[in-house]
């Protein structure tokens, strides 16, 4: 782990005269390996105590965590001792990298081991390894597949959100008065916590007897408004609430894109006789494609995490019609505290997401840079 020894093409090129003495080098190496040994020994000791082979006064695995922290600090210090100025450069990235590795890579490996076991946290049996049994269970779980199918619907709803957000962004980028007021007003829904939104809109405004939306619906001629009665309407309601929160996000990204288009381009289009609708489709929209794709991709990523509103408003009902994968796994844990099965579902979901997003980016790449 070191900054590139030749540091070819460093944007910030610095000439340093680093003469690392062999004693200093030895000190650095010793520091890394000794702290690593301490970490490994602590980990093993706690693991052996946990499995009942030796008796130690530890009540938790925390000593292993502290040993890892010591190791991380020593590793950072050793960079400077071993590589001098070049080591100081890797100190910029190393803490963040160690943090992410400790918080993601290690738990993910751990997740795989959980996923291959039958582990009910509320039963005293503990973890029982059962191979790919959870995968087989998942295959025959209609509710999980239903949740995955719902995710496709939820993701497709982004197209509508995008259209609305683009319209609003076009208006905001045009010549209007009180632009700042409208920008602040439109931004507000994004600031609110999904849980508060669940209550504010889902539970109170959509309440069938007294809610203002239900009243409005009755005035407009829907005699018996029920927003979570049938599967389709319930799903649409959840989509609408999520859209309400996130349209500002898309709108702001698109607005930034619109404001970055040079005025001359649109003026040139106008001189050439392109008006309104045609100018939009043949000039603005193509220029906005890269921004649009970034915005939609980030929106998809956020959409795939959708859960809070569903957990708090419908709990997946009626009959699983509004379930997202996350809310389904949340209830799977809440109701049955089955971590093993839940983790397998989550890992499978991750694989699907990675595959889908890779495919999406490949398709976009093919479409943006066609090879003839």
């Amino acid at each position: 782990m070191s900054a590139d020894s030749h540091h070819e093409g460093d944007l910030l090129h610095v000439v340093t005269s680093d003469e690392i003495s062999s004693g200093r080098r030895r000190l650095g190496r010793t520091l890394v390996w000794a702290s690593f040994a301490v970490f490994a020994a602590t980990f093993l000791a706690v693991a052996m105590q946990d499995s009942g082979r030796i008796a130690l006064p530890f009540t938790t695995w925390r000593p292993a965590l502290y040993a890892f922290l010591v190791f991380a600090v020593c590793l950072c210090a050793a960079q400077v001792i071993l590589y001098g100025e070049k080591g100081k450069r890797s100190l910029f990235v190393l803490p963040a990298a160690l943090f992410v590795v400790a918080m993601v890579v290690f738990p993910l490996i751990f997740a795989v081991s959980i996923a291959m076991s039958d582990w009910n946290l509320s039963s005293p049996d503990g973890q029982k390894f059962n191979g790919v049994e959870n995968l087989r269970l998942m295959w025959h779980d209609p509710f999980y597949w239903n949740a995955l199918r719902n995710m496709v619907w939820y993701t497709l709803a982004i197209l509508v959100e995008y259209a609305i957000a683009f319209g609003l962004a076009l208006i905001l980028a045009g010549e209007i008065r009180a632009r700042k007021f409208f920008r602040v007003a439109f931004l507000m829904p994004l600031m609110l916590s999904p849980v508060a939104v669940s209550w504010m809109i889902g539970k109170s405004m959509l309440e069938t007897r007294f809610g203002p939306v239900a009243r409005l619906a009755r005035t407009l001629g829907w005699d018996d408004p029920s927003f979570f009665g049938s599967a389709e309407i319930a799903r649409a309601t959840i989509m609408a609430m999520d859209a309400w929160t996130f349209i500002p996000f898309l709108m702001i990204m698109l607005l930034a894109g619109l404001q970055a288009i040079p005025k001359e381009v649109q003026e040139a289009a106008r001189v050439d006789g392109a008006t309104g609708w045609r100018a939009f489709w043949e000039v603005t929209f193509p220029l906005m494609l890269p921004v649009s794709i970034t915005a939609i991709l980030i929106r998809i990523i956020f959409k795939l995490k959708l859960a809070d509103i569903i957990i708090n408003v419908t709990s997946g009902g009626p009959g699983g019609a509004t379930d997202s994968v996350t809310s389904f796994i949340f209830r799977e844990y809440r109701d049955r505290s089955n971590v093993g099965y839940g983790t397998m579902l989550a890992l499978f979901y991750l694989v699907c997401i990675v595959a889908a997003i890779t495919l999406f980016m490949k398709l976009v790449d093919r479409w943006m840079n066609p090879r003839y």
Binding site: M1, A3, D4, D10, L11, L12, V14, D50, T60, L65, E85, L91, F92, V93, P95, A96, A97, F99, V100, P107, F110, I114, L121, G167, G174, I176, R183, V184, A185, F186, M188, P189, M191, L192, S193, P194, V195, A196, W199, M200, S204, F210, P212, W244, F249, M253, L255, A256, I301, A307, D308, I311, N312, V325, T326, F330, V339, T343, A346, Y349
Partner: protein, 309 residues
């Protein structure tokens, strides 16, 4: 030819006159849409705040305008112990609310600060130097950081539940802070990478000629210039972590429970205790509404970063 009476040479043709009409029609349509969307965006907030001052009959009759339709009462706020007449007295509900509020504030501020510190350093390093960690070069390292954004929380939730139980970190603020830092770190790196790329390298070169070290130049020259970006990233992190519900619901029970969990736990149990729910929701969203109105510029700056290259 004798002088003729001065005649108008240029006339508004019929098409010019329809243009004016069309222009006005367009204006009306645009402001109509703007007004409609403002209403859609703000009405739920207005509804929640006004409901917190209503009594049951006001809710059932659908009264909307305070002082005209209904007389505002402190009923909802007194059930939280936050109305003028109850604020001086002991209140268990208020103590509970304040404890949750403090938990939310501490976790949100600490994790945002930690993420901004770690993320800015990493983004700066990646924008200035070429690294090689094993097989990973700069683009790979960047991708490694940013790809964490794809990871849905549900994948980490259950492993962390088990891990935190073993580590004794379940239901502690520090456990939540670590996880929240992880979830917002990619966003910080995304924003700050953009920010540092727009600062010319010559600045640091000049500073180093003057005898500053790399870290000295970073801390005293670059960071102050990048401050708007840092503020933008910090605010965005604050919004996301303050509102986070999923991890908090799974990993906290009594000590470290945050405000969203408290709000969520009230929705089911109390039926339609509208006024107190409205007051609680208002209290939960108010800090971010204030931040949104005051610091709108930074939020927009943060979200626009990376959108436009």
């Amino acid at each position: 030819m004798p002088d003729t009476a001065p005649t108008q040479i240029f006339h508004d043709s019929a098409s010019d006159r329809t243009f004016r009409v069309k222009w006005y029609a367009g204006r009306v349509a645009i402001y109509g849409i703007l007004a409609l969307w403002t209403f859609i965006s703000l009405f739920p907030i207005y509804w929640t705040i006004s409901t917190s001052f209503k009594l049951a009959p006001d809710v059932m009759q659908g009264n909307m305008v305070p002082f005209v339709d209904f007389a505002p009462k402190w009923r909802g706020w007194s059930s939280l112990g936050l109305s003028p007449d109850t604020i001086g007295r002991e209140s268990t509900v208020r103590a509970e609310f304040l404890a949750r509020f403090v938990n939310s504030a501490v976790t949100a501020l600490a994790s945002s600060a930690l993420a901004v510190a770690l993320g800015s350093c990493a983004a700066y390093g990646l924008s200035r130097f070429r690294y090689r960690f094993g097989f990973m070069r700069n683009p790979d390292i960047s991708f490694f950081f940013l790809s964490q954004l794809i990871l849905p929380p549900v994948v980490l939730a259950l492993p962390f539940l088990v891990l935190y139980r073993e580590l004794g970190l379940l239901d502690t603020r520090i456990g939540l802070i670590l996880l929240y830092t992880l979830t917002v770190l990619p966003i910080v790196i995304w924003i700050m990478r953009d920010q540092f790329a727009s600062i010319p390298v010559e600045l640091e070169e000049a500073a180093m000629v003057d005898g500053l070290s790399i870290w000295g130049a970073f801390l005293t020259i670059v960071l102050p210039i990048a401050l708007p970006g840092i503020v933008a990233a910090f605010i965005l992190c604050l919004v996301l972590t303050w509102n986070e519900y999923f991890f908090a619901a799974l990993l906290t029970s009594t000590n470290a429970k945050t405000l969203p969990v408290m709000v969520a736990s009230q929705t089911g149990s109390q039926g339609i205790n509208w006024w107190s729910m409205a007051a609680l929701s208002t209290a939960a969203i108010l800090p971010l509404i204030v931040i949104g109105v005051m610091l709108e510029k930074y939020i927009i700056k943060g979200m626009s970063a990376g959108a436009v290259k």
